[in-house]
Each structure stands twice: as C-alpha cells, then as structure tokens.
C-alpha cells in the first residue's frame, strides 16, 4: 500500500484499503473558513446539537479579514457565536491569517493525520505528510456531527522532480511548469505524490507551494514524505506523537511523470487559465498595473524576503502598485523584525493585514477592467481578483517583485547575479 492508503486505512480502522473503495474515516482536524456559514445552517438542519469534538474543529476568518461589508460582518458574528457556544479550543479570528498558514503555525498539522477543510487548497498540508483535502458545506456539516467522512480511495500519481533550479527560480516556477505540461485536468480525483531530488531537500515554505497548487490539476490530495526540515519545524510547534507511514516497495502508481528542472526559467501562467504556462523569455512586453505578493501560495516569510532582496534601496515603477499581504500575523512580525517590511514600504509597496486579500477578489486591492495584475497567488480565471475584464498573470514572488520594479513582466534573475534568494 501507499503511505496515503495506510493513513486512510488507519483512520477507517481497516488493515487494507484498495483503489476505488469507499471508506468512512475519522477526521483529525476539520477547518471551516468564513465563506461557509452554510455549514452551521446544515449542521442544525441535520439535527446537530454540539460538535463532535471541541478540540478538532476550528474556524478561520481569512477570506473576509477584516470584514469588508455588513453582510460579511454578519457572517463573522454568527460564526463567532457558534464557536463560543461549542467552546472550541482553537479559533482563528481576523487577527491571525490564512488558514493554510495559521493551522500549522499553531501546531495542528502533523504527518499521518487527516485534515479536511472547506477549501480546495487543503492539499497544501501534504507538505507535512498529512492527508489534506477540501469539501463542501454539506460534507463539512456531517463531520461536525460525527467526526467522520466518507472517502473514495484515490488512484495515486507519482511526480518526480529532479534537479536544482538556479537562484531566482522558485518553487512557484516549478509547479507552474508542471501544470503547463500536464494540464489542469491531469489528476482529477487522484492523489499526487511529489518526490525526487528537488523535493527531498526542499524547505517547508517551498514544499507548501508545490502541494498548494496540486489542486489546480484536479488532485484530491497531495503528499510528500516528510524530510528533516519538516520534522524540525513540526517539533518547534507541537509535542504531539505521530506516525510516518512508508509506501511499500511493490506499490504501483497509476501514472508516473519525471521532470528535470535544472535549466528552468521563471514561468508565468498567462490569462485565463492556470495551465496556460510560458517561460518569461517567450513573452512580449506586458505592462503591469498591480503586483500582489501574498495568499496561501505566496505570502510566507521566504516570499516576502525574495521581494525585499530585489526591491531594497529601489523604487517601484510609478504607474505600478505593489500590494503585500503576509500570510499570517506571525509572518508579518518576522518580516518587520528582519526589516523586509521597511525595505518594501520604502520601495513604494502598500501593506495590508494578513488574510486572503485580493486573491479571490473580495477586498484589499481588487483590479479594474483592462488592468494587468501579476500575482504570487494561485488562480487566474477571469474575475478572480476583481473585474472580469482584468488580466491575471501567475508568477513567483521574485518575478512579481521584479515586475513591480520595472512596471512590466520582468525576469528576476536580472537583479540577482548569483545571490541566493
């Protein structure tokens, strides 16, 4: 069996599970974000009274943090009341950050667990060796009652990534490259294991970027064998006991792909789909009105650092705005401590409070019709970040910063000259 199958089997109290089988598994952590007030309504509609375990359900207010409208303020209010009524141990209000950052910062994510959230990018937690997946409101309400969810045991695809990209080429470029090659429907309802020499040694933040965007290929979940960097990180956050499951040597993957990224150039997903990917050097000049560094894909300390290193002592182009939204308050505090925020603000950036920001077009820097936005976030379909008449270019934080500096899509390697990002 694969490690993911062993995780499912253990949580279903079975010895063996097989592909295609539907099992009922216990959930270790369920997370509801502030788009999903509906889960509370469905919970009561189905006869729910108290949640199954007050330590295993958490709410994260990130999509509308802080509330931009009266309607969203009302959503927060009703959800807060539910949190209090059920006396939930973990609650992340508007002063924390994006769900896929604050949960592992709080020590709630560990190898071998099942984490279910009302958010498709829950695949992110595969970086920690967890089984993370997204569900809708009805499914989540049933977990809140029973602590269990039914799962179809997925086919598992192996994506091996070998090599080491040059400075200025980031994990975001690697996953965009793979998405461009395999397509947005390559792994529908399947699980992806990422492995290879690149992944073996990759640090925590970059592993999360790769797993985060696995869902853009349709994947149900993503998985990486936890490396030492991951284990060291988890140990600074929690004392919880956990088990790392091995994949049996005779396990046969549904599909295998191999990528060599030694000579990869920075990649851009051009409008209007995530798999519409080209190397930056193949693009004609693209004027940039707004650049965004943030979200659960590109708002970590390493991302803000990459931008600060390019923009330190510089001024961004006068016709371009650069919005910086750290993924969490902890990231923000560290970015202040290391001086990155000062570098960026002096370069002309606009800072907003941690949360999803304009990633889903709700607030804090949406774009107008006819505008071009380069972004370190993860989706570029029409209207995702504001007007359906705007154009979104997905790129790495380094490319995003270099583009803000020049006012047009720009290869960040020009500014690095061999320094490490």
């Amino acid at each position: 069996m694969h490690a993911l199958e062993k995780i499912l089997a253990r949580h279903a109290e079975k010895d063996v599970v097989t592909t295609g089988e539907i099992i009922k598994a216990k959930v270790d952590l369920a997370e509801v974000n502030d788009l999903y007030l509906q889960t509370i309504y469905s919970f009561y509609e189905m006869g729910g009274k108290k949640v199954w375990d007050k330590n295993k359900l958490c709410f994260v207010f990130d999509h509308y943090a802080p509330a931009p409208t009266i309607k969203t303020a009302q959503i927060h209010k009703e959800m807060r009341e539910f949190v209090q009524e059920n006396n939930l141990t973990h609650h992340f209000d508007i002063n924390t950050g994006v769900c896929h950052q604050v949960m592992h910062e709080a020590g709630l994510v560990y190898p071998g667990m099942i984490l279910v959230a009302t958010d498709s990018h829950t695949t992110t937690h595969g970086a920690f060796g967890a089984f993370g997946t997204g569900v809708g409101a009805t499914d989540m309400a049933t977990i809140m009652i029973s602590g269990e969810l039914w799962f179809r045991v997925p086919e598992i695809v192996e994506i091996k990534i070998n090599g080491k990209p040059e400075p200025g080429v980031m994990a975001k470029d690697v996953i965009l490259h793979i998405l461009g090659k395999l397509g947005a429907d390559a792994c529908v309802y399947k699980a992806i294991e990422f492995c290879g020499t690149y992944i073996d040694d990759l640090d925590v933040a970059e592993r999360m970027v790769i797993c985060n965007m696995a869902v853009e290929m349709g994947a149900k979940t993503a998985y990486m064998v936890p490396n030492q960097k991951i284990l060291d990180y988890i140990r600074t956050r929690t004392n919880k006991e956990f088990e790392i499951y091995d994949t049996d040597e005779d396990f046969v993957y549904a599909e295998n792909y191999v990528f060599d990224i030694n000579n990869l150039s920075p990649q851009i997903a051009v409008p209007h789909s995530v798999d519409n990917v080209v190397s930056i050097d193949q693009l004609p000049e693209v004027r940039i009105d707004q650049a965004f560094i943030g979200a659960c894909t590109g708002g970590r300390l390493e991302d803000i650092q990459a931008a600060a290193e390019i923009l330190r002592g510089q001024k961004i182009n006068p016709h371009t705005r650069l919005i910086i939204i750290p993924a969490s308050n902890e990231v923000l505090l560290n970015a202040i401590k290391f001086g990155f925020i000062e570098d960026l603000i002096k370069a002309g950036a606009t800072l907003s409070t941690p949360g999803c920001g304009p990633c889903l077009g709700a607030h804090q820097g949406v774009i107008a019709e006819g505008e071009n936005c380069v972004t370190a976030s993860n989706r570029n379909f029409p209207g995702r970040m504001g007007s359906t008449g705007g154009s979104i270019y997905l790129a790495s934080p380094a490319t995003t910063a270099a583009s803000a500096l020049m006012g047009k899509l720009t290869d960040p390697r020009t500014f690095l000259k061999g320094e490490n990002v």
Binding site: M46, K49, V135, T138, D139, I145, S146, V188, K220
Partner: protein, 166 residues
C-alpha cells in the same frame, strides 16, 4: 434499495457542470425549476424527453468544472435514475452521492450501449445489464456506506435519522 431501470441517454467526455446546469440558472432555488434546465448546455431537449429512472451514460470526467451543488440537484429532480461513466470529477461525485443520486464507474460503457437501450443497474453488485442487447458489464462496486447514503435518499435524511437516535 430500489431497482434502477430506464432508457440510456448518451453524452460524451468531460461533461462539465456548466453543461449540466448553465451558470445563468444558479440564482434559481426551486429544485423543480432547476430541473427544467437539466443538461441544457449539452442537449436542450433532454429535460423534456427524460422519464423518471432514465440513465445517463457518459465518458471521462463527468461533472468537472465548478463545484456547484446545482448540478446533482438538477439531475435528481429531473428524474435521472443514475449516471454511469468512465470517471467522475471529485466534488461532483461527493455532491451526487450526498444528494442521493446513484453513480456507477464503468470503464468503456459508452461503446457498450446505444442511445435508447434499456439498462438495469444492480448497484449493490456494481453491475449494468443492457436488456436491449442481452449483455451485462461489471462496474466498480459501491461501498456499503455509499449504498447506505443512497438507500436513505441522501446524506441529510441519513444524518437526521442518526441524530434523532443520539
């Protein structure tokens, strides 16, 4: 579990939720009104021709695209008895079973069935019989829990039963 028997309607690969229920109908809330536009994006005559219990046969990745729960709502309320396909998009699959719409994965089913053939499905065994040709095929067997959800008419009725006993 009730018997599923009806005429086959054949659709192709990658039938997305926009074809099952076009986006302009998402503001509708009444299930019957939603059902009146079922499959409109792929075949505008479908909603008028379908009879209760009829079966949709399709290829790969049925239900892909945006995750709207309106898609299975339209199919259930139009009277579709089941969907048989090579594969289903994940969130559609979950939504359909939760809403009580039986789905069966049966690879290559499109080549084994003609439009209008009478099909009968034994969900418990994961079997499809083509009454018109006399041939039968094995699909992927559904798990006991999926059968329990489907047998209860969906996850909400099932959970109401469970919470009432709690």
């Amino acid at each position: 579990m009730r018997k599923i028997k009806g005429n086959a309607f054949i659709f192709g690969h990658n039938i997305d939720t926009d074809q099952i229920i076009p986006g302009r109908y998402l503001e509708l809330v009444n299930p019957k009104e939603i059902a009146a536009h079922c499959m409109e994006g792929a075949d505008p005559t479908f909603a008028n021709r379908v009879n209760s219990g009829d079966i949709i046969v399709a290829g790969k990745n049925f239900g892909c695209g945006s995750s709207r729960e309106h898609a299975p709502i339209a199919l259930v309320n139009a009277g579709v008895g089941a969907v048989i396909a090579d594969s289903f998009a994940r969130i559609f699959y979950r939504n359909a079973v939760n809403l009580g719409l039986p789905l069966l994965i049966c690879k290559g089913i499109m080549e084994k069935v003609n439009e209008g053939d009478v099909l009968e499905i034994n969900l418990k065994e994961g079997k499809v019989s083509n009454i018109s040709t006399g041939k039968s095929f094995n699909g992927e067997q559904l798990s006991e829990y999926a059968l329990e959800i489907l047998g209860s008419g969906g996850i909400k009725p099932l959970f109401k039963k469970i919470t009432a006993e709690m």
